[in-house]
């Protein structure tokens, strides 16, 4: 009886959670453009979507931005974690960590407007009225990716055996060489999970991009936003259906392919936002 109740509860909540998304997916196959009546099955809206150059450009932009910003953040963040690891002054370490965490703690909208104020000020000073765009987006995304990289790399550094790198240096390695050949391989899982986290955060971000973007560089979430504030075409539903399906596929593959030993990365993802 108890078992029945608990699975019933789980089922109910999941059904409610998925109902709107499922309705959207079902109606993306609707021939007529109505959300209250299903008139016939067709792929019309999908065809229209793949002819929509704006949507495809936005997808490309999103991927480029996510790859670049997460890579840059990972490089900077990993070295920062190394530096922090070797830093002796406790207060400096604490200060740097807490300042880095500001974009993670702050609501996105505040991070977004603060960045915008900075960029607008710079644009006015150097009199560049096309200042906003790819560059500002890249900076903003890298900035909010940094804390996530540090979050996943720092614990790896703390778990390192110090004597290993010291042994390497005693054997004649320079500290840089010791880092690359001894420490780096040990922290790779942390780096990778930081990279993945940054990648997904960047791909998903709307609010911060909303404030620092310009028309010449539109990402997928911005495209979706622009669609939903105007007359929504049904190709938008098709786009949503594709996004949901892709994410579901990725999640299933990641979670069910192989033994999937490292829960750590998953937990980090879970605890991230």
């Amino acid at each position: 009886m108890k078992k029945f109740l608990s699975s019933g509860y789980i089922f109910l909540i999941f059904a409610l959670l998925y109902a709107p998304i499922l309705v959207l997916i079902v109606f993306s196959f609707n021939e007529g453009g109505s959300l209250s009546e299903f008139t016939g099955f067709s792929f019309t809206w999908y065809k229209e979507l793949f002819n929509d150059e704006q949507a495809l450009t936005a997808l490309k932009n999103s991927l480029v931005l996510a790859v670049l910003s997460s890579c840059i953040a990972t490089v900077i963040g990993t070295f920062a974690a190394l530096g922090l690891h070797h830093m002796k002054r406790k207060w400096a370490k604490g200060a740097i960590t807490s300042i880095t965490n500001i974009p993670m703690m702050n609501p996105d909208i505040v991070t977004g407007v603060s960045m915008m104020l900075l960029f607008v000020a710079v644009a006015t000073i150097i009199k560049a009225n096309d200042f906003m765009g790819f560059g500002t987006m890249l900076v903003a995304h890298t900035t909010f990716n940094l804390p996530y990289v540090l979050l996943s790399v720092t614990p790896r550094f703390n778990a390192l055996d110090k004597s290993l790198s010291e042994a390497a240096m005693d054997l004649g390695c320079t500290p840089a060489r010791a880092f690359f050949s001894v420490e780096l391989p040990e922290i790779v899982p942390g780096i990778v999970s930081g990279l993945m986290l940054g990648f997904t955060m960047s791909l998903d971000d709307f609010v911060i991009s909303h404030f620092v973007s310009s028309p010449n560089f539109q990402t997928l979430p911005l495209y979706v936003y622009n669609q939903t504030v105007h007359n929504v075409k049904f190709s938008m539903y098709a786009l949503c259906a594709i996004i949901v399906a892709t994410i579901l596929a990725i999640l299933l593959i990641v979670n069910f392919a192989g033994s999937m030993g490292d829960r750590r990365s998953r937990r980090a993802k879970g605890g991230a936002r």
């Binding site: 490309k60 790859v67 644009a123 096309d130 993945m196 028309p215 622009n226 939903t228 105007h230 929504v232």
Partner: protein
């Protein structure tokens, strides 16, 4: 671990590919167009994609590739904010009359070179110089703007939800019978306009007291409106999610195409006539290209396609003379053509004019006052107080328990 490695590999393979794509485009000239949403034929459902047509036409004419980056705004005020922020640049903007006046007064527009726009002759004579613009050169054309479309604001209603007896005036939008089914504009000038027309006030008044009166009227309305929206109106009216909305006449025809239960009228107290016109901002880096774009949009094929996409009234002779256009208009609704061009409302309609800076600041403040004027229902208060009390109780409970335990 394997999946991460493969993912990184994928990223590494993808990144240069994506870059090579973007690099190839660098030599292409880009034209930034900033227009109203739903205001150009976009190639959906078999119509002409005007921007693409321009790119092709330009390539054919000059052998140069050009890329149109088209983005949209949903109100004049939004457009102004973006343009004046100084961090984004556009080559073409399409504001309404009063906003053109403001941009011109603030020296944000570049004068047009009519040698590059021979198709300007297609513009109907009375639209060649707009009220908001000047003609210093004496060439018979406005210095800064070329009209794109014009139209009037009216009230769209759903015949299955609204009583015939209630229609005719602006009062419909204040009728408590339709509480929760009324949509108001989400931009200050148009929203205040509805109240001003209803009260018979001057929409260009410089008397703060009159604007206050309009604000009071909007405040009264706030309780019964479903929301303040702009282009979301399309989906809401077509889907029957709202019964009454004030919006632009051309858009009504577009909605009617998808939902024949809708109807439309111009309120008897008078309404707003607007002319949206293409302008080139001073910050444009491609003025000649922008003028080529304007010129192209005035030629027959794109002009007719745009007119049949938006259903707004066109100031363009080639459109008005086109058989295809007349047929297209009549196929939506018999009186579509009359609704846009031959109505009595046109005679009594007034235009918005630009107002002095202090007045604009006042409107802005009043609008903020309206938007931030929120009623918090007692239920919300009760719930919150309940939550806070529960939290406080828990806090005290734990603190006391901790102390007791520490005493052991």
């Amino acid at each position: 671990m394997k999946r991460f490695v493969s993912l990184i590999l994928i990223c590494l393979v993808l990144a240069p590919m994506l870059f090579s794509c973007s690099k190839g485009e660098e030599k292409v000239k880009t034209l930034y167009v900033y227009n109203w949403g739903e205001y150009i034929s976009d190639g959906s459902e078999g119509c002409l994609d005007s921007n693409k047509a321009f790119e092709d036409w330009y390539y054919k004419e000059t052998g140069e590739r050009v890329k149109v980056v088209y983005s949209t705004f949903s109100s004049n005020e939004d457009m102004y904010a973006k343009l004046s922020s100084g961090s984004v640049s556009y080559d073409i903007v399409v504001p309404s009359d009063y906003m053109i006046e403001r941009l011109r007064e603030e020296d944000m527009l570049a004068p047009l070179n009519y040698d590059n726009i021979p198709n300007a002759k297609n513009i109907v004579e009375e639209f060649r110089v707009l009220n908001c613009d000047t003609d210093d050169d004496g060439n018979g054309y406005s210095d800064y703007s070329i009209p794109y479309f014009y139209g009037m604001i009216g009230i769209i209603y759903n015949t299955t939800m609204v009583d015939k007896a209630d229609i005719g005036s602006w009062d419909l939008m204040w009728n408590p019978k339709y509480k929760g089914n009324i949509l108001q504009f989400n931009n200050s000038r148009d929203a205040f306009g509805t109240a001003q027309y209803k009260l018979g006030l001057d929409v260009n008044s410089e008397n703060p007291k009159q604007w206050r009166l309009a604000l009071e009227e909007l405040r009264k309305q706030k309780d019964i409106v479903q929301g303040y929206v702009m282009d979301e109106i399309f989906n809401k009216m077509e889907g029957g999610s709202a019964a009454i909305a004030a919006y632009y006449a051309g858009d009504f025809l577009a909605m009617y195409e998808n939902n024949e239960d809708l109807d439309f009228y111009y309120p008897e107290e008078g309404t707003n006539l607007y002319v949206d016109a293409m302008c080139v901002p001073k910050s444009s880096k491609n003025k000649e290209l922008a003028e080529a774009y304007i010129n192209f949009m005035l030629s027959e094929e794109p002009a007719v396609a745009n007119a049949l996409y938006t259903y707004y009234a066109s100031p363009n002779k080639v459109v008005l003379e086109s058989e295809e256009y007349k047929e297209g208009m009549n196929s939506i609704r018999e009186d579509a053509y009359e609704l846009m061009y031959n109505t009595d409302a046109l005679k009594t309609a007034t235009s918005y004019e630009n107002l002095p800076g202090s007045q604009l600041a006042l409107i802005n403040n009043l609008w903020e006052e309206l938007k931030s004027d929120i009623e918090i229902s007692p239920l919300i208060y009760i719930l919150c107080i309940g939550i806070v009390i529960a939290l406080a109780f828990f806090g005290i409970f734990f603190a006391v328990r901790k102390r007791i335990r520490n005493n052991y």
